[in-house]
């Protein structure tokens, strides 16, 4: 299980805005091995959700290549892509907005099966929907219920069942728990982990919640203003964060202890505007270690130790 299921190369998405180009995702490259989870973290507006949508081609990338299972899906036609969606699915952030209020639970879960004609008869469809509802922990009595009759956690389970219905290999989870309260968050996360083990799923898990990402990820990618600044195995990243932004991010995790005093790395300054950004490190304006040269040159992800990549010229060994 060490084959790369998804590989992304030089992915870019620029949006045209009033005064220029908004660099939402700027030259992002990564890969995810089959059966593993890549956690993507970063603050609001850093391009994590956009990256997730680009990977599924729900948004058209400005440039870059996306390889899924060895195929370059970035050149697929609309019809080819519709077919491809059987293998790659998404779970949305907002369980209130992401399901059609006029369809019943069973209709929502059955729709992907109908589109891809995965069941032969009405009975088979019915059974598959019941089975999916059982898998995600939705009671059978909700079969004909409408979404507005259910709470956020159950609605999110509908979203998960819908994504699972086509037996995908890969699921983009776009902050699937951030709209839920903490006790439900844990339930949904455990459900998603169980499903991953059972079905051998590969996740791209987008979140701004570091404790969630630590819980579920094999590798973690940290994004800042459309760029990936650090990519490392989960344990390595938490034990040995190298990029100043990652360090600041990790120092912001609350520690549940009265005695232990931690050092907060507080960032000052505003986030640079992503519209027509100047060359140079995007984080330089807020970075406590920034030097003159940081403002001049772009950084690229460099491997500092096996599997640990950082985009910071000050921290990467060849610059020290």
């Amino acid at each position: 299980m060490s084959e790369k299921l998804l590989e992304v190369n030089g992915l870019k998405k620029y949006f045209k805005v009033k005064n220029g180009l908004l660099h939402a995702v700027d030259d992002v490259s990564f890969s995810i091995k089959a059966g593993e989870t890549l956690g993507v973290v970063g603050e609001s507006g850093c391009g994590k959700s956009t990256t997730g949508r680009l990977v599924l081609r729900l948004l058209e990338p400005t440039s870059g290549k996306i390889y899924f299972d060895g195929q370059d899906i970035s050149v697929f036609s609309k019809a080819q892509m519709q077919d491809m969606r059987r293998q790659m699915q998404i779970i949305f952030q907002d369980p209130y907005a992401s399901i059609n209020p006029r369809m019943t639970v069973s209709e929502i879960i059955a729709e992907p099966l109908r589109i891809h004609k995965l069941t032969k008869s009405k009975e088979e469809l019915d059974q598959r929907v019941s089975q999916l509802m059982d898998t995600v922990g939705l009671a059978e009595r909700l079969y004909n219920a409408y979404p507005h009759e259910l709470d956020g956690g159950r609605r999110q389970r509908i979203g998960i069942a819908r994504a699972l219905s086509v037996n995908p290999k890969f699921i983009v989870c776009d902050e699937p728990v951030s709209a839920l309260d903490v006790s439900i968050q844990a339930q949904i996360l455990n459900l998603m982990q169980d499903l991953q083990e059972e079905l051998g799923l590969t996740y791209m898990f987008i979140t701004h919640d570091l404790s969630v990402v630590k819980h579920i990820s094999d590798n973690i990618a940290v994004m800042y203003l459309g760029q990936m600044v650090e990519l490392a195995p989960s344990k390595e990243l938490f034990a040995n964060p190298i990029h100043p932004y990652t360090q600041a991010l990790l120092s912001a995790i609350p520690v549940p202890s009265l005695k232990k005093r931690r050092e907060r790395l507080l960032l000052s300054g505003e986030i640079t505007s992503p519209v027509n950004p100047k060359p140079g490190c995007r984080f330089a304006n807020r970075c406590p270690y920034a030097q003159e040269s940081c403002h001049c040159q772009d950084n690229t992800l460099t491997e500092v130790s096996p599997g640990h990549f950082v985009a910071c010229k000050l921290k990467a060994p060849e610059f020290q």
Binding site: R85, Q89, I90, F92, S98, I99, P101, I115, Y146, H148
Partner: protein, 296 residues
């Protein structure tokens, strides 16, 4: 196997088809049922008009000795300026008025709805072309447009329906487009695309059902507007030709005698009003029934 399946089905809330469900909710709504019953009576009267009053001898036969008689046992709604029985003319006129009203609204609803949905969904240049065409239509007063169309096509019942229908297309296109715009950016549309749905499915299954509420309200009001447009066209001689009865024409003819014979204009007017009222009641009920959030 059978055992497992039946076990699976226990505890499930009762399964009903969507349309049956909507039907039940309309029936539970008293106001909607009042509207439905009145409309049904009007339609039945129009359908069986020939049985109730013979067209040649009662509806168009003039009887000048009995002109402008008030309601009596013989003529329950009185007679008009040519001595014809008003009730008989109303039920025969209902055939034309109801047909024109319903058919022309359906026509403009379907054409305007499709144009509006496509414009809203695809946006960009396509949207611009469609909506600017609609703006041109809107710039011409709809009665003038209808007049032009009837003049060009010749006045027949079908042409009248087409004319009234075409002149109302822009308002439906605008309403549908506006609701499509608010719905197409919602996450569940993206979700529908993510599960592999094509544009047709997304528009038909996800967008249009969510635009129904404003469209139904507009359509029920539109039937009233269409009946009145037909009346106006008849009034200037482009619609239904005399001596054929039509509600709007009867209303405008009776206007002249309002001081001496109030009933000539009043009764056709009441029928128009009751038709519109019942359509609005039914339309409101239908709109509520189509919204699953208001269940029970």
């Amino acid at each position: 196997m059978q055992g497992i399946t039946s076990e699976l089905h226990t505890g499930r809330a009762k399964k009903r088809s969507l349309w049956l469900d909507i039907g039940i909710r309309v029936i539970k709504n008293k106001a909607a049922m009042v509207g439905f019953v009145i409309l049904a009576v009007l339609i039945l009267l129009a359908l069986f008009a020939d049985v109730i009053a013979d067209y040649d001898t009662v509806v168009i036969q003039q009887d000048l000795a009995n002109m402008n008689q008030g309601p009596s046992l013989e003529h329950i709604l009185g007679t008009d300026e040519f001595g014809r029985d008003i009730f008989a003319r109303i039920i025969h006129g209902g055939r034309i008025s109801l047909a024109v009203g319903l058919v022309s609204v359906c026509f403009s609803l379907v054409v305007g709805g499709i144009l509006g949905a496509l414009a809203g969904y695809y946006g960009g240049r396509f949207d611009n072309i469609i909506m600017r065409c609609m703006d041109i239509f809107l710039a011409i007063p709809s009665i003038l447009l209808a007049m032009a169309i009837v003049t060009a096509l010749g006045s027949s019942l079908l042409n009248l329906m087409i004319a009234v229908g075409i002149s109302n297309i822009p308002s439906y296109a605008r309403i549908v487009r506006a609701s499509v715009l608010t719905i197409k950016d919602q996450e569940f549309i993206e979700a529908a695309r993510a599960i592999g749905g094509n544009d047709f499915r997304i528009i038909m299954r996800h967008i249009l059902p969510n635009t129904l509420a404003p469209v139904i309200v507009q359509a029920t009001l539109g039937v009233a507007g269409a009946i009145l447009s037909t009346a106006s066209l008849s009034f200037i001689g482009l619609g239904i030709q005399p001596p054929a009865p039509e509600w709007g024409a009867m209303l405008s003819n009776g206007r002249t005698y309002l001081r001496s014979a109030w009933h000539v204009a009043t009764f056709p007017g009441i029928f128009i009003m009751v038709t519109i009222l019942s359509l609005n009641l039914l339309g409101d009920g239908l709109r509520d029934a189509l919204d699953p959030k208001l269940k029970q």
